[in-house]
Assembly symmetry: C2
Homo-oligomer: 422 residues x 2
């Protein structure tokens, strides 16, 4: 007896769609799931490199291009691959048709080039799926209420897949990518890193935003909101064979039900894209800190970690904080212009830093996680430059030379090392 | 005082749209017309080479590709160029927006990959033009009643331009191309060939279908039906300067009004893509000819010129006719299979032939056109293998070696040579 059929969304990125040979490979993977009796919608990216080509056309045409027309141009990449995948599916006996963003339609806000998905009509889609047809849907695109083409911003196809899964009430949304799941940390640094079977949306958000980039952050947020079960798995296995299970990104309830022995920590992430700024000898008076952070906030610069060292008896203080590395030059510019008002002595930038984050939902109910971290790093002589914490995360800033050492030490300290690895 | 403003359609082909530099050049040409106060809609092709690239993707994906999905893929080429031209126009201060086939919409039949245009909604388009916006419309594409993407077949952008011009009741439809007009004959053969100022739709159809390929035949037929004034002109002049007038393709009424002294002959065309077939010793009995042409008609092979030579006293006849060169192999196959029924002795193919056509609306009211032709060719010893005539055309089949000589002799005989040329 065959298992009961599911409604599933399968999403394939640009690398999987790069050229007809690979598209044919994707078609076989889709056929495998469809042949089980599942109702299948496929969401596809443009061929890798194609979106860049189209974006460059727009920039060449005018650096100040109209985002409405930019969307018309760049949405074409996914239109091409969705038509081609439908053809490739039909060629191996799978009934399939493409549904462009405006055909379903996928309604979005009118924030062109970075639109947000509103509602997706599913009447026609459901009728097509019920007939046994595979629906091929271009990711990244939609249309406004007024009927103009929109795109969701780079990496938006993950979000399209989750939104389609939510709209069609799919049993799961499988994101096929070039890694076979989410790991406890970067396997290039820690060979003993383990693939995580199940991870909560919240943990995934923390891991993604601090460096373990597997899923687009917005797509995880949407999956959490809409309770879509997401699986990250490899697109490079034998297309006809049952794939190796990847990592499921699910709600905390599902984790709790299945994992009797909860782990405290799920993974260790690192992020080298932070920059540290220190202002020396800031007058130690009420409101001094506001004079630093107000102008940064007005410039929409996101400040992350903040440390304030009061030098006793001097009446002044050093203030240290981090900003995204890409915003460093702009931050320095803002702060130089505000020197008079802030009254600091020196402005010291430092890009040779790394943020290490320990993430886990278990942290909420278990004390000592932070203590373990500080002790493990101290034993190896790793100096902590700054600290932040959230309900499910503790992050520390260290000198970037210690990145790999710190990740390995913490991976072991929290008992994450795989037992069977060397 | 400025002249009263017109409503015009400007159409640019793939060569003019190949790359951002050329698209910027097109934008300047559009600005020139718009700045006069004209209401302007622009119809664009894909970048040259792009449609071939997309067609090849489809063929690679499956030789038996679904034309519905093929249309989704190949329509993207014009989508890209319409967005880019809108951006390039905005960059030089011209308000512009793209209108995709499904946005206007341009409704077509559901004959995917070779759809025919039905109706075009102009409400939104007219409102946009009235605001002074330039409308940029991708050629070649439309949508079915059911909302699926269609394309019109290769070269369909000319037809799109004429259809848009008809729908918006444009004063004229300017087709910018890589020649500066329609000539009395091929200037590579006859340096004294003259650019024709005005030509009727009917003459243009005859000239186009026999070799002078400037406009897609379907677009001329549609222009005739909808009475759209078409101008063929060069896209390679100074984009900011008033362009040199090209050739107007108009109704016979307009020609009659303006040309008091009507010319008998408008142009001379030639076509090397015909093949001659001779069947020898066909029994000379009623119905014999039908046994030849019925099987060819059933195979959808178009027979053009027919000559029947009765050999006195033998009770048999030779039958000679022409078919398109590309259909020769299939024609021979059909005729070999029907040999029993037809009863001919030999089947003699000949591809070394050329059809020369003399075209002119004046022919209808003037006798002697054919006589002049036969005499001019006979004086040079050019043997006529077959003849056909229509209301505005006399065509003869000759050995292809005499093509250039025949065209030159006839160009002079009908008084078409330019006076100022060498």
């Amino acid at each position: 007896m065959s298992p009961p059929a599911d409604r599933i969304v399968m999403k394939f990125g640009g690398t999987s769609m790069a050229g007809i040979e690979r598209i044919r490979n994707v078609a076989r993977q889709v056929k495998r799931e469809w042949a089980k009796g599942n109702q299948v919608a496929v969401v596809v990216s443009a061929m890798s490199g194609e979106t860049d080509r189209l974006v460059n056309f727009c920039r060449e045409a005018s650096p100040l291009y109209d985002p409405k027309e930019y969307d018309v141009v760049v949405a074409s990449g996914e239109q091409v691959t969705s038509g081609l995948l439908a053809i490739a599916l039909q060629a191996i006996g799978v009934p399939a048709r493409s549904w462009l963003g405006w055909q379903l339609p996928i309604r979005t806000s009118d924030a062109h080039a970075s639109a947000r998905i509103g509602t997706i009509d599913t009447e026609a889609l459901n009728a097509s799926l019920a007939k046994g047809e595979v629906a091929v849907i271009p990711g990244f695109q939609g249309q406004t209420e007024g009927g103009r083409v929109t795109t969701l911003g780079r990496g938006g196809s993950d979000t399209s897949a989750v939104a389609v899964a939510a709209a069609m009430k799919a049993d799961r949304c499988d994101i096929y990518t070039d890694v076979d799941g989410v790991y406890t940390t970067d396997p290039r640094i820690v060979p003993k890193a383990r693939k995580i079977e199940k991870i909560t949306y919240e943990e995934m958000l923390e891991l993604a935003s601090v460096g373990a980039k597997v899923l687009q952050t917005r797509s995880v947020g949407l999956a959490m909101k809409e309770k879509v079960r997401v699986q990250v798995l490899s697109s490079f296995g034998d297309p006809d064979a049952e794939p190796t299970p990847g990592t499921f990104v699910v709600s905390e309830d599902e984790i709790g039900e299945n994992n009797v022995e909860q782990q405290h920590i799920t993974g260790i992430a690192y992020d080298r894209n932070e920059a540290k700024i220190t202002l020396t000898a800031v007058p130690d008076r009420p409101g001094a800190v506001a004079t630093i952070f107000n102008p940064l906030a007005e410039a929409s610069i996101n400040v992350d970690m903040i440390v304030q060292n009061v030098a006793h008896g001097t009446g002044s203080t050093d203030v240290t904080f981090t900003v995204p590395g890409a915003e460093l030059a702009r931050s320095l510019d803002v702060l130089e212009k505000a020197q008079q008002e802030i009254g600091y002595a020196k402005l010291i930038p430092d890009t040779q830093v790394c943020k290490i984050s320990v993430v886990g939902v278990g942290m909420r109910s278990h004390a000592g996680v932070a203590a373990t971290m500080f002790q493990a790093l101290a034993e190896r002589g790793i100096n902590i430059l700054a600290i932040t914490t959230s309900e499910i995360k503790v992050s520390v800033l260290i000198h970037e030379d210690y990145t790999e050492l710190a990740v390995r030490v913490l991976h072991t300290a929290y008992g994450l090392d795989a037992e069977d690895a060397a």
